[in-house]
Symmetry: C3
Subunit: 131 residues, 3 copies
């Protein structure tokens, strides 16, 4: 088992969980009661951080694990930590203003690009060698 | 392979699928036509059950499998069944009224907490022992 | 490792990523600024394609991999390719009109049904044989 990737996976899941935890006090603060998810831009930005992180989980997690298996555990774990850092920066800056969400988003997207290219190269190499 | 965890995974996926199946008749009943997802609180509660279950899938499934690998198959499967039971209770009670969604939600969240702590302890132990 | 399933997984993730990429120009074209996700039916259809694909990722990916492990790598990969094809047809037709989204949706749902039945049969067989 790629232990370091497993560890970073738990950290990424806990971070994602935290983006959802933030929605409940935002509901109270901006008076947007469940099941509504719109009505106040300040609430919607907090909600969209959770949603956007959710949207990227099925990109990040499969690519992270394929990279860990086909390239390496420790390099996957380091890339995973950079992804989490980009996500934290995205969360903090998007919560301030919608037009500040770019840099953090780009970092985490770039990490997923590297994971995809590495995984793809590793898989194709294995198939080509009849592995 | 942790067969019991695999079995519970299929059950959890089928349950999650069912939360989405319920949205279609709710669209007809409350006259909320696709692509709209708001406009009637009764529809929105049915839709939010699906969405909230979706939001928790990237928390539940990775933690369930890391727990299965690092702690044990059968204990993971039992926790997975409790998670599904909490989710079913959440679905039934949230569909009745938004303020009844608490207990079922807490059960499934608690299960994820136990899965996270178990997985984390197992991973750290393996890394510490140079596993 | 089931290499062909790994390859199809990367393709499915890249396709899903693309359904999200389409949302940004749609925001500009139909003037729906972030964090809003509604206000224009043409935008909402593009957004719903991404959301619906997201909703199915936690169904498709776990079943695909359980099928690959318990039934076979190459049959899983072929079914995965049919799923992607159904999803592409769904994306193109839903973007044109909401009532055209049926056929592509049915194809991808049918594939998930086959994956579920195959995985379930394989898992139960293994447990019954004390595997």
């Amino acid at each position: 088992m790629p232990h370091w990737t497993a560890l970073v996976t738990v950290l990424a899941v806990l971070f994602y969980f935290y983006t959802g935890v933030r929605v409940l006090p935002a509901r109270r603060k901006y008076n947007v009661l469940a099941p509504a998810i719109s009505g106040n831009p300040d609430f919607e930005r907090v909600f969209r951080v959770q949603m956007n992180t959710l949207e990227w989980m099925p990109i990040f997690l499969p690519l992270l694990w394929l990279f860990a298996v086909y390239v390496g555990d420790r390099s996957a774990a380091v890339l995973g930590l950079i992804w989490i850092a980009g996500r934290i920066y995205y969360m903090v800056s998007y919560s301030q203003a919608a037009d500040r969400r770019g840099p953090g988003f780009s970092v985490q997207a770039l990490v997923c690009g590297v994971l995809a290219i590495g995984a793809l190269a590793g898989i194709v190499t294995q198939i080509a060698h009849g592995g």
